[in-house]
């Protein structure tokens, strides 16, 4: 259950997340036969909406509607990691999932070398092998944050809340007094 939190208001558009994403989980620049570096397309995007920058990245929903909408059986949920993944060789680029995702986290990318061929869907693959997605690790402003899972974040928040409640009602001092 990956949990990625996006706070676009903090984003200053440095693009490190996209770069880290393009490098891929190996964090290496792949080089082709002629020695020309060839990055893969990033799996998250920026856009300006009503004057505000926004990051589009997959939330890896528990009941993903993109998977329901996929007519080719290309999108699937990896039950081990809980992530929504793509069989890119099955994708026919029909835009059904693009139409469903309320986060705009799926895009059809046409290969640069052969623009005439069918595009296939690109989406966050959750950086298999890493504890946290690389975009969040590389984000310097905290616009992308990660927790090991959502439950952990909730439990941390609850602790903060409980501490706050006890402080504001003076319970800590009270209880401390009671128990010496």
């Amino acid at each position: 259950m990956l949990s990625l939190r996006e706070e676009s208001i903090k984003c200053d558009g440095c693009g490190r997340c996209q770069l880290a994403c393009s490098l891929g989980p190996a964090l290496r620049v792949p080089v082709n036969d002629q020695g020309i570096p060839k990055l893969r397309p990033p799996l998250l995007w920026f856009d300006e909406i009503e004057g505000r920058r926004q990051i589009f990245v997959c939330r890896h929903c528990e009941n993903p509607i993109c998977v329901d909408a996929c007519v080719a059986g290309a999108l699937w949920v990896d039950s081990k990691s809980g992530m929504v993944r793509v069989h890119q060789n099955r994708c026919i680029g029909c835009y059904s999932c693009v139409m469903e995702c309320p986060f705009g986290a799926l895009r059809i990318v046409y290969p640069v070398e052969e623009p005439s061929t069918n595009g296939v869907v690109h989406k966050c693959d959750g950086c298999i092998g890493w504890q946290a997605p690389l975009c969040a690790i590389f984000c310097p402003t905290g616009a992308l944050q990660t927790a090991k899972n959502a439950a952990e974040r909730a439990s941390k928040r609850r602790r903060e809340r409980a501490m706050f409640v006890s402080l504001t009602t003076g319970t800590v001092s009270c209880a401390a007094k009671k128990h010496g």
């Binding site: 929903c61 309320p102 909730a154 609850r158 809340r161 319970t171 800590v172 001092s173 209880a175």
Partner: protein
């Protein structure tokens, strides 16, 4: 402000976690603290336990961020609910709630949040220490004021 809330008095809470068990039983039919909408946070070193649940915000952020409109509340009573048929389990609400009062159901993958058991909260009914109260917001405020004054008079 006739809106009723579940309010917790951490001074009376013994940390027995009965509220978690009964909440889970009321909503899911099994006794599993993991499925509870109320959680007891313990600070063992301070001999303190605080039950935490939804605060029934006036402008709930969880509802604002929900992309599919699955989080709803009744403005008259304040009682919240999650429309499980709509919820896609994107965890936005979990990430945004400042109280950690929303969790994801580990089996169904949908959001869980306190719905005040439609007006008769099980956690309050079964709290053996009387630490949980289901009362209008105004009463909670009054009680807090009194508690504050009592704490001062102890000093």
């Amino acid at each position: 402000m006739s809106q009723k809330v579940v309010s917790a008095n951490s001074q009376l809470c013994t940390g027995c976690k009965q509220c978690e068990l009964f909440c889970s039983f009321e909503h899911e039919g099994i006794y599993s603290p993991r499925l509870a909408r109320i959680r007891v946070v313990k600070f063992e070193e301070k001999c303190l336990s605080v039950p935490v649940t939804c605060a029934y915000c006036e402008r709930p952020v969880c509802e604002e961020v929900c992309p599919v409109g699955a989080m709803k509340h009744d403005p008259a009573t304040g009682a919240a609910q999650v429309l499980e048929d709509l919820c896609i389990g994107c965890k936005e609400c979990v990430n945004v709630c400042p109280l950690g009062a929303v969790e994801i159901h580990p089996k169904k993958g949908t959001a869980m949040r306190c719905d005040q058991c439609k007006g008769d909260p099980a956690c309050v009914k079964y709290c053996p220490a009387g630490a949980l109260q289901y009362e209008p917001l105004a009463h909670t405020v009054r009680d807090k004021r009194r508690a504050r004054v009592t704490a001062w008079s102890l000093d």
